[in-house]
Structure formats: structure tokens, C-alpha cells
């Protein structure tokens, strides 16, 4: 045995954040990038190729010992082609389908007796779910794209015509807050969760996370972990997965799955003994999983969204002086309005102060405040 080469299909910020733990552990990381200017391709060994091209992905995979991906856009056919050619690829296609196809996911959650919202497929006609409801494209949506709040049957019919495909309809829940919990599982079946995270959303995009979830009862914390572990085992997950949940009173209801390191787990880089990125590497290489304990009472993460400012370096002069414990993560992506271009994390024991400092940093980085 020697240090393996781990191939990652995709070279965005998630692959970029895998580079540090891979380097520390001595794992050789090799990316299939769409472009040499991709976030992770700037700092990591890579080849340029199309993730939709089964032969290109297979050629890439043959130079690696194990292959994983950092986004949901790798087609099932491409993953299956790897499997048929004896490539070790994780998560496997028959697990990954549940983060690519929202109807398959809902069916699986029902099968596992896990808490779904009311849902149905919709190809026109009547609905069993009352309006307003949520309509989703079954594949391809992320960060609020492909998700519609629909107030009337007429509006639904119009969206359905526009999309031109069967939709998934879900009841619109009056939830108290949104929660995410990360879970990791290895081919051996070892599994571990982290503390659940409060994901604060604006316009369907997560702006801030707080870990652990403030005022979450022990019962609900355990329930979140139990749901995540049940799914991980039920779908034979290998790697890390985010389970997004709605809290409705004392109930948790499953919203979405993402079968990769996820924005709601970025706090783990500093806030947990083992980050989601290190854990993903351990899991897909079938190494024993690391300790997921918190390193601090609270971890607050804020996403840096592109705003008016394009210079993302100069703000360091003010922000590092003001908040010496603030940890910066810049993805080195082109600044575009609303695009996630980085994040900051702050750990400590005073949650009010942490949230205030993180919000200040986000406002300053976007140009909303000057000092």
C-alpha cells in the first residue's frame, strides 16, 4: 500500500477545500476540471475535460485509485460507465441518484419511513396538495434554482408548460427554521454525524450557519442524527452527505439531500476536529473516520456573496485587524453579484458577538458598509 491518488470530478470550491486535508494526509489529489481557471484547478494538479463525456471521465479515472465528485451534475450514465469498467467511484451511482433525482429521493425516504412533506409527481391535471405549494424540477436544481412557490393551479400549469417536464410538488411547510446535518459513511459501514447546523436563508440562498442549532432540544438533535444515519445506511452512502431539514415545532421533515461536502458543513474546517473535507477523503478511501466533536461552543459561518466590490484582498486590512480570530476562505472565483465567492468562520462562546462580527465582515466584503 502506498499513498493513493484520489480523483475528483469537478474543480470548484469544494475540490479546492479538499486540497488542504489531502496535502496534510499525504493523499495525491487530481482533478477533472472544466477549465484551468476553475477555483481548485488554480492550486491543484488537474486535467481539463468534460464531466458529461463518459470516455473522458473514464480516461481520467484510470489515472486514479479512487474517484469522487464535488457536484451533482455528473450524469448517472457517466458514473455507471466507471463502475462497469471496474473503477472505484464513490458515492456509487445507486446512492448518488437520490441527490440527483428528487422524486427518487422522496420515494426512498417513504420506504425508509422517514418524515417527508406531502408530495406528488405532477404532469398536469389535479393536485392533492393545497396551494400555495412548492414545485421543483426533479433534476438539476440547486441554490434555489428550479424551486418555485406556486399560489394557484393556473400558475402551476404555466410553470409546468414552461419547464416542459414532470414536476415534483411538495406541501409548503410553515417551518420554524431550517437545519442541516452532515453525515459521513465509509464502504465498511462506519458512519458519523456532526452537530446539526442552523442554516439561515435569504431568497433561497444560505447566508449564515450557526452550529450547534440554538435551543434545539436534545430529542431533536438526536432525531436529526438518527435521520441522517438512517439515510446514510439506507442508501449505502460512501462519502459525506448533507441532510437539509425543516423544523416544524417538535418535528423534523426532510427537505433535500446533497451527497458531497456541502456549504452547511463549511464550519467544520475550523469548528470540528475533523472537517467534512477530510472526512470525505477518509470515507471514499475506506479509511477509519475522524472525530467529529466541536472544537468550540459555537461556530458561525457566513457566505461571502459577490456584491459591488471586486477587490476581495484589500478588505483584509480592516477585517483582520478588527476580528483577529476570523478565518477567511476565498475561492478565487470571479466576483459576480450574488455568487458565493468565499466564506468566513468565527468560533467562540458568545454567540451574539460571533454573529455580529460575521455579519459585519459580510457587509464590509459586499460593500454594504465602509467600516
Amino acid at each position: 500500500m502506498t499513498f493513493p491518488r484520489l480523483g475528483v470530478i469537478g474543480a470548484g470550491q469544494l475540490a479546492r477545500m479538499m486540497a488542504a486535508p489531502a496535502t496534510h494526509m499525504g493523499i495525491n489529489l487530481r482533478l477533472l476540471a472544466q477549465d484551468s481557471t476553475d477555483s481548485a484547478a488554480q492550486i491543484c494538479e488537474h486535467v481539463v475535460g468534460n464531466p458529461n463525456d463518459a470516455q473522458a471521465v473514464l480516461d481520467f479515472a484510470r489515472t486514479c485509485d479512487v474517484v469522487t465528485f464535488e457536484h451533482e451534475q455528473v450524469p448517472q450514465s457517466v458514473i455507471k460507465n466507471l463502475e462497469q469498467n471496474g473503477i472505484k467511484v464513490y458515492p456509487r451511482s445507486d446512492s448518488f441518484i437520490y441527490s440527483q433525482n428528487k422524486v427518487e429521493m422522496r420515494k426512498k425516504m417513504d420506504e425508509l419511513n422517514l418524515p417527508n412533506p406531502k408530495w406528488q409527481e405532477y404532469s398536469g391535471g389535479d393536485t392533492s396538495i393545497k396551494f400555495p405549494l412548492i414545485a421543483k424540477t426533479i433534476t438539476g436544481g440547486y441554490d434555489g434554482r428550479g424551486v418555485f412557490v406556486v399560489k394557484t393551479p393556473e400558475e402551476l400549469s404555466s410553470i409546468h408548460k414552461e419547464i416542459g417536464k414532470t414536476l415534483l410538488l411538495e406541501e409548503m411547510l410553515e417551518f420554524d427554521c431550517e437545519i442541516a446535518i452532515m453525515v459521513a459513511r465509509s464502504p465498511h459501514g462506519q458512519a458519523a454525524t456532526w452537530a446539526a447546523t442552523w442554516t439561515i436563508q435569504e431568497d433561497g440562498i444560505c447566508t449564515t450557519t450557526v452550529t450547534p442549532v440554538p435551543e434545539l432540544t436534545d430529542e431533536l438533535s438526536s432525531a436529526a442524527a438518527s435521520i441522517a444515519l438512517t439515510i446514510a445506511q439506507g442508501i449505502s452512502l460512501v462519502g459525506v452527505m448533507a441532510v437539509e431539514l425543516f423544523r416544524v415545532g417538535d418535528r423534523l421533515i426532510i427537505n433535500e439531500l446533497a451527497m458531497r461536502p456541502h456549504n452547511s458543513g463549511h464550519w467544520t474546517i475550523e469548528g470540528s476536529v475533523t472537517s467534512q473535507f477530510e472526512q470525505h477523503i477518509r470515507a471514499v478511501l475506506d479509511l477509519p473516520l475522524g472525530d467529529t466533536a466541536l472544537t468550540s461552543p459555537w461556530a458561525v459561518m457566513g457566505n461571502i456573496l459577490g456584491g459591488e466590490k471586486t477587490d476581495m484582498y484589500r478588505p483584509y486590512l480592516h477585517l483582520m485587524a478588527r476580528t483577529p480570530g476570523l478565518k477567511f476562505h476565498h475561492y478565487r472565483k470571479e466576483v459576480r453579484p450574488g455568487r458565493k465567492i468565499g466564506h468566513v468562520t468565527l468560533l467562540g462562546s458568545d454567540l451574539v458577538e460571533l454573529r455580529h462580527e460575521v455579519q459585519h465582515a459580510l457587509d464590509y466584503l459586499s460593500g454594504a458598509v465602509d467600516e
Copy 2:
């Protein structure tokens, strides 16, 4: 202002460990490696060149915004040539001399009224220091190389003849323990220390560090910080520096300086809010320094020294399962007996257990124990 390119002369494990914080902060790292197989060159943008070749180093430096180094072997003439050509290079040559020339260092410590052992230069003849004493080569020594315990005048004379250069003689202290303290300073003059570290040595090589130093009085902790800050200011340090100290009863006496990230500060990667590697980058780029607080009551670091085992990957299967919180750092250097090829770090509140687990990991990695 935009994200700068930081050039590092050298591509060993210290440059390798700078890559993670550089990536996180979005800083472009570029190395001058001696060989493409060097530890850091394996994972980082680099050019191959000779650090002793002033023109090659200047050509490299002109592709960077700021230049620093990761070892003491860069000649003064090479650094001065950069300075004369208007390159921003840190630490500056007139600071760096004190980690390259042990006599200049002793003179400077005397000038700063800091606690030196008795010392003298020796080019033959009588000595004012009683035997046994320590003889050192004035330049070029590290990890115990170039350091001799000398019992008699005859032995001294013989070593002097063999080396063929003036030696530095120092009294041999009966010390209680060896301590190191890391300090960082920016061109603006902002400075910060970390908690002092107990460096446990075997045969002149550090095997394990414990931070903070067990049972060190508040007075001595403050004295260590004060010495480090006085030196940093006194030599106009820019970057990070290790100050190695002997504790002799209630006195601290200066042993050595190393003007770069240092083995005795590796614990800061997980054990401090800001690691020595991130801090070095911040300092040489004249960014505000980060918080140096501990993240845990104790941090124990153990150096992985090359032994009989050459497979450094397979041990993960046992060690990660046994100690899920253990953090691994493999430098991906060829395994040679006694060579530092990696380190492990463990944080927690039970120092006895931490030391036991780290020692087990080192023994297992070297092949001294099987389970």
C-alpha cells in the same frame, strides 16, 4: 490591490504546510524548489532553481510580489541582491543574519540585555569557559548537526582542526527542560507570541512537543514572551521566529533562534486559532496578525522519524481507528532512518492520555510496535 503572489525560496515541508493557509486566504504561492520532487513542489506551483544562485533567485523573485524563505541556507549575498534590486523580501538580510550566524546572534542578545549562556569565539588557545562545554560551528548547523559536547582542551583542539574555522563556545548548562516560543512580527511592528512549548529532545532532535509547558510559572511564561518580543523588535523581525530557551531553575537562557516557521510551532496548525504558517504569510504580506489563542487545554505534537517501515499509508488503518482525533501530517519525503518525514498532533484535556496516544502513533509508524 489584488491577491498577491508570495514567493518562497525552498520547497520542503515548511513550504508545504504554508500551502493550506495560502489557499484558504486566496494568496498565490509560488516556490523556488531545488527539485520537482521536493515535499512542497509536489503540491504547489514552483520553478526549479538553485537558492545559492543570486541571478536565479532574482529572476524568481521578480515574478512575485513578496519573497520569503523556509530555510536558513539562503546566502546573505543572495538576499542582499534582492534587496538592492527593490524586491520586498522578509525577513530582511540584517534580521536573518541572527539565525544564520550564531556569534552575531550572541552579540545581539548581549546588546539587548537578554540572557545568554557564557560564550566566546574560539580560534585556538585558552578558553574562559570550563569543560565540559559546547562547541558550535558558527554557521550552517541544524538539528544537532554542527554542535559538539567537548570534554577536554585536547578534544576541542582536535574538533577545531577538523572543522577548520572559528568556533562558538558556550557553557554547558544543567537545564531542567528545553522550551521554545514562537513569535510573529509584521513590517508595521505588530507582534504576537503563542504559548510557550516544551520541546522534548533525544540525541539533539526534537521528538515531541507539549503546549503549554507543563508547570511553567506565570512569571516564566511572561518572561518567555517578553524575551521573544524583545528579540523580534530588536532585530526588526518580519515573519515568524522560534526562540529556543533553556529553563535553568527560575531562569530562562537563550539557546537558538530560527527565523521561519519551526518544528516547535507545528502544534499551532490545529492547536491555535492562527497557525504559524498562516501568521508567517500574514506577517510578510504586512496583513494584521491573527489570534494566537490555544484552541484546547493541551496540544501534543510528535515528529515521525524515518525507521524500518517505508509504507507510511497502511498505518492509517490502525491509527485512525484507534485515535479518531489524531491529526496526520505527511511530508511525502523519502523515508530515511532518523529523517523527519511527518508529524502527528493531538489536542485535548488529559495530557497523560494525549502523550500516550502520540507516543503510540510514533512507535507504530516507526515499526517499534506492531499494534
